[in-house]
Assembly symmetry: C2
Homo-oligomer: 362 residues x 2
């Protein structure tokens, strides 16, 4: 992290990456290369899990959704993300999930990088899915069912294609327009895409099942009797209290892997299970302190909810790429002061005479 790059004569400045610049960056680097790089970055940081100060995110809930803050830090860097989840938003022309966040320097508290994270979240969620699947799927896997063809589906599809070599996708969404959009967006890629008319049809013959629906309820998108032995399930859509996708009995049929257990207990598919239901944290598999898949017939389940360490990794990845590409813009977020104790001097700098134009009228 090049903290010193932000030094100005009177302190430091904050670099900004807006959504248009982020999209330009991903397009320039290549979306699959971005997904690959982000997967490496997330893996690298999960491998040093013990270095981080972690906490479950803090949510403020309304009847239609949630707004969350996700902080994390190691000895040198701090990251946080602001993110909402409002499944009804698409009916109003807004994305279900919108996000932004920042990287800061732990030594002095300076926010050095503020970024859009809506696009970046879709990338990092797919990268995390791929990191988990690499440990848990059968090695010969080549066909994935993709249930839920909304905002994040292309990123999941291209991550599994580009990083793990998945060449066949069986897709299904209750919204046929969404399914058609996914099909069309994937057209330029060498992936066989099969549009299906039900979840049951889509999962037939799939090595991996990804569920990534946006319904804000305890839904059963995937029933236990639909899942063949040996399947790896990438359960992404159940990610807040009251929002699940898997039939509870399915969780008993497989081994469940999570990002950060205290958070997944509250937000993930796990919220359906007793408090002592056994799970494995992914870092344990990556560090080889716990096994991943045990046999070719085992069902493995990644109960993905999204964790701050993924955003930390994604922010650092995007910041480094954006620096290389020269796509950052300076943002007037933190005052650069000649005398750091003279914040009041900022007002004089604006208009020396008018600062004192108001008088006590009590």
């Amino acid at each position: 992290m090049t903290h010193t790059a932000n030094l100005t004569p009177f302190g430091m400045h904050t670099d900004f990456l807006g959504y248009n610049q982020a999209a330009k960056l991903v397009t320039r680097v290549g979306v699959i290369e971005c997904l690959r790089g982000m997967t490496q970055a997330i893996e690298h940081n999960f491998m040093r899990w013990q270095d981080f100060t972690k906490s479950a995110r803090i949510g403020n809930y309304s009847p239609d959704g949630v707004i969350e803050l996700m902080p994390i830090s190691d000895a040198s860097d701090y990251a946080f993300k602001y993110v909402n989840g409002h499944p009804i938003n698409t009916h109003r022309g807004l994305p279900t999930v919108m996000a932004f966040g920042a990287l800061a320097n732990m030594a002095n508290g300076m926010p050095i990088f503020l970024s859009e994270l809506t696009l970046t979240t879709a990338l990092r969620t797919a990268a995390t899915s791929v990191m988990a699947a690499r440990q848990l799927m059968r090695p010969e896997s080549h066909c994935m069912a993709l249930i839920g063809n909304g905002t994040q589906s292309e990123f999941q599809a291209l991550a599994f294609h580009g990083v793990l070599g998945i060449d066949t996708l069986r897709i299904y969404d209750i919204d046929e327009m969404a399914m058609r959009k996914l099909h069309q967006n994937l057209a330029p890629y060498p992936i066989e895409v099969v549009c299906c008319s039900s979840t049951a049809e889509a999962v037939r013959g799939a090595d991996i099942i990804t569920t990534i629906t946006a319904d804000n309820t305890n839904a059963i998108i995937l029933r236990a009797d639909m899942v063949a032995p040996g399947t790896h399930i990438n359960a992404v859509g159940g990610d807040c209290p009251g929002k699940t996708e898997l039939e509870a009995s399915l969780l008993y049929k497989g081994n469940v892997f999570v990002e950060f257990e205290p958070q997944t207990r509250i937000e993930g598919e796990l919220q359906q299970m007793p408090a002592d239901f056994a799970v494995t944290e992914l870092w344990q598999v990556l560090q080889k302190s716990s096994p991943g898949r045990l046999s070719p017939t085992q069902i493995t389940i990644f109960d993905s909810v999204g964790f701050a360490l993924e955003d930390y990794s994604a922010l650092r990845y995007m910041y480094a790429r954006a620096q290389e590409a020269g796509l950052l813009q300076p943002l007037e977020l933190i005052p650069a002061l000649q005398d750091p104790k003279n914040l009041f001097g900022l007002l004089h700098a604006q208009a020396p005479s008018s600062v004192i134009s108001d008088r006590v009228t009590a």
Copy 2:
């Protein structure tokens, strides 16, 4: 809150207020008028304390300081602040406290306003001090001791002068340059400023004592034997674990008032006291469910640490004023999508052909 003002053809946009624009705004409105308006706004919201979903802030600590997130919401609006506290920063040319934050719409999660909050925090902290003092000081108070003449001192001075009519300030700082800076910055105002050579000298004859030092230790800035009967103490500088300013025995001599008890127990002067030490939350005094000052000889203590509701109030105040003044800038924080389920389309919008320039190389 005019959420609809952010509507664009394909969704909404985020308004940005940088530090230069914020300084321009405060200068135009007048710093005392800002402090007065913010005091009213904070009071208004403390009066409806029960409407808010509140939590203690989450801090990530390093050897030299802390970075905190402070979220809060009511049924319609969400606010959060990012803020650091690194007392050694001034030796490196950076402010001790740097902050920014956002307002968002609870119904859809859209962040409608992102703002600098370094300047705004100094204003809202002073406004909160004045809100507390109006309830707790003796009505005839006219002289304030101001111990600690750093970043926030001018704002405290002008808030007490402009809103409560304080006409005499007795100031002291171990850094003589800081004291001279405060003296000079207050020169245009009709306030009698007396520079003192010790805390003991400064507090002599003062009706109110404000402590706002930045030392990152359990310091004793104010000893119990320095404080005369009837004094109101505005203790602002002790605001994180391991950072206090008052002698513990002084807290037993007076009645202690706090913003949000669970947070002050951890961060305020209260951290020195037993868990059952009695305190009163300020909203109880404002709502008249608890008494404020009981007698002219009582010592009252506001153990200020800063609470998210003050930032919520300040963000809304600054947003409304900045809208009126036309000082907001649009920020590309959240993608405006024609089809909210087609986030991937953002990449096509950048360069239709290059999206597919990368291929699987696994």
